[in-house]
């Protein structure tokens, strides 16, 4: 366990080196936050009432928590593992006395931590300055919201890890990664809240792991989901975290048997 912690801290330090990049990411997140919040507010004004349980302050909170968590949750995925499989460096990961999935998860949690502190919270502060904002309605929402964010980071990591491992069988994973990004961006609720979707698209979203990567923590933090519903929102995330991590282990061991690295 102490190895895991060391790797988390290493990930945190590694990503805190690029301070200007963190600041730049925060600035871009804020610009998109302003545009997206304006659109949602205009839609609510046009409807004249709430849409699917979002009133103006909830919708604004939904947008800005989403922008704040965009750097924290690795929604777009990563390609480090994919590259290492292709170059054969993954063999080195197999030689290490730590499970590769756990090691990469630890690094990603560290990355998430520095991004939440240095990129997410300042973006959230800008949003709160510019817009009228619904804060989490109580201590319970804060606490469950943070647990939900942690689970979202794990689910997003586990999903992208599986996609990366497909490189064991396919030469070029870029097309699949792109598809994953497009579908994930839409179904995770990054652009618009999932409850705004037409029925059939909502059903597809709810059967996919993507809302667990963003929509669920956003709903808890924006105060749209409260009380007993929080338990089911977090429960779904736990299910997807376990399922995708398990799938990752399975694919990893299957790929390990297949892996053939040339040279000494």
């Amino acid at each position: 366990m102490s190895t895991f912690w060391l790797l988390v801290r290493a990930g945190f330090r590694r990503h805190s080196t690029y301070r200007l990049a963190l600041l730049a990411g925060m600035a871009t997140n804020s610009v998109f936050g302003v545009i997206r919040a304006s659109i949602l507010l205009a839609a609510l004004a046009s409807a004249g009432t709430d849409i699917a349980g979002y009133d103006a302050p909830t919708a604004v909170a939904f947008v800005w928590w989403g922008q704040a968590l965009l750097g924290t949750v690795n929604l777009w995925g990563f390609q480090e593992v994919n590259d290492r499989v292709r170059t054969g460096d993954i063999a080195v990961d197999f030689l290490r006395p730590v499970d590769p999935q756990l090691a990469y998860l630890a690094g990603d949690l560290g990355r998430a931590g520095i991004n939440l502190l240095a990129r997410g919270l300042p973006a959230l502060a800008i949003g709160a300055l510019l817009f009228h904002f619904a804060w989490p309605p109580g201590a319970l929402s804060w606490a469950s919201g943070l647990v939900s964010v942690l689970l979202a980071v794990v689910v997003a990591f586990a999903g992208s890890f599986v996609v990366n491992l497909l490189a064991f069988w396919l030469v070029e994973v870029r097309g699949i990664r792109m598809l994953y990004m497009i579908v994930g961006g839409l179904l995770s609720g990054l652009y618009l809240p999932v409850p705004w979707f037409p029925g059939w698209l909502q059903t597809i979203a709810q059967w996919s792991p993507f809302p667990s990567m963003l929509q669920n923590p956003l709903d808890i933090l924006a105060g749209r989901v409260v009380g007993v519903d929080v338990i089911s929102a977090v429960g779904v995330q736990v299910f997807w975290a376990v399922a995708l991590l398990g799938l990752g282990q399975f694919v990893l061991s299957a790929g390990r048997r297949r892996l053939e690295v040339q040279g000494g």
Partner: protein, 267 residues
């Protein structure tokens, strides 16, 4: 003149041939950019699933704004979008190798790639434009056709200018390259919207500072003769070439400042 352009023609032709070599990968890339276009459209469509009017535009009008901005953006992305990769070139010292060749740096960078896969997103936008123009109630005239052509050309020029300005700033930013995304990709996102969704200060910003309102919303208001927006008088749409000219002046200054600032990678 023909002789001077010959190297660029050869460069571009080789880039295009190279992309076609891996047929399967090229097809997946195109499908990918079609997917990006469809996802962008889904956002507009989901909103209009909930409301009938957004920022003074009905669905057809919003579709026209979406189409015009996406056509301009994907054309600009096709021609100069790869300037985005400049920070990687700078870090790897590859910019120096461009400098030793006897062609201007910007022209070389622009012709260093022509990402044909980006036609995927362009085709989604063209379908949207066709649907919008046929279903909308438009009083067709020579002026409307002229305005459409002027808009697409100038809109492409505006986004290209934004990419070039971003490229110039990369020489200063390097690690902070993502800063410029806020006005390139952020500008494209803002251009797709009815400008009436924004509060006034922001509208002035997207019209006179980063002129993305000219790319789609202002021409659409004029073409569809939508009344009632005091910040979008009908004649403003005809100033789109002027906005493109100003954007290119600023882009040129940014590029000049950037290349003057650049000291080489010391290789």
């Amino acid at each position: 003149m023909g002789d001077r352009l010959e190297p660029y023609r050869v460069l571009l032709a080789s880039r295009m041939r190279a992309q076609m070599q891996y047929r399967a990968s090229f097809v997946t890339d195109i499908l990918g950019t079609v997917g990006v276009g469809l996802a962008e459209f889904a956002e507009v469509w989901v909103i209009f699933h909930n409301v009938n009017v957004l920022g003074g535009l009905d669905f057809t009008a919003a579709l026209l704004v979406f189409a015009l901005s996406n056509i301009a953006f994907s054309l600009a992305d096709l021609f100069v979008g790869h300037l985005d990769r400049l920070p990687t070139y700078i870090r790897a010292g590859q910019v120096d190798s461009f400098y030793v060749r006897p062609l201007p740096l910007l022209a070389q960078l622009m012709t260093s790639d022509l990402s044909l896969r980006r036609v995927g997103r362009l085709s989604v936008a063209l379908v949207a434009l066709t649907v919008a123009l046929t279903t909308a109630d438009i009083a067709w005239s020579a002026a409307v056709v002229a305005l459409l052509v002027v808009t697409i050309v100038s809109g492409t020029a505006i986004f290209s200018a934004l990419f070039t300005a971003a490229g110039g700033l990369q020489f200063f930013l390097v690690d902070g390259a993502e800063f410029t995304n806020s006005f390139t990709y952020g500008g494209s996102y803002a251009a797709q919207q009815s400008q009436q969704v924004f509060p006034d200060p922001l509208r002035i910003f997207w019209t006179f500072v980063i002129p993305t309102a000219f790319v789609a919303y202002l021409p659409a208001v004029t073409i569809l003769e939508i009344p009632g927006d005091r910040l979008a008088p009908w004649w403003l749409a005809w100033c789109t070439p002027l906005a493109a000219g100003l954007a290119w002046t600023i882009a040129g200054l940014c590029w000049r400042a950037g290349t003057r600032h650049y000291q080489g990678a010391g290789g």
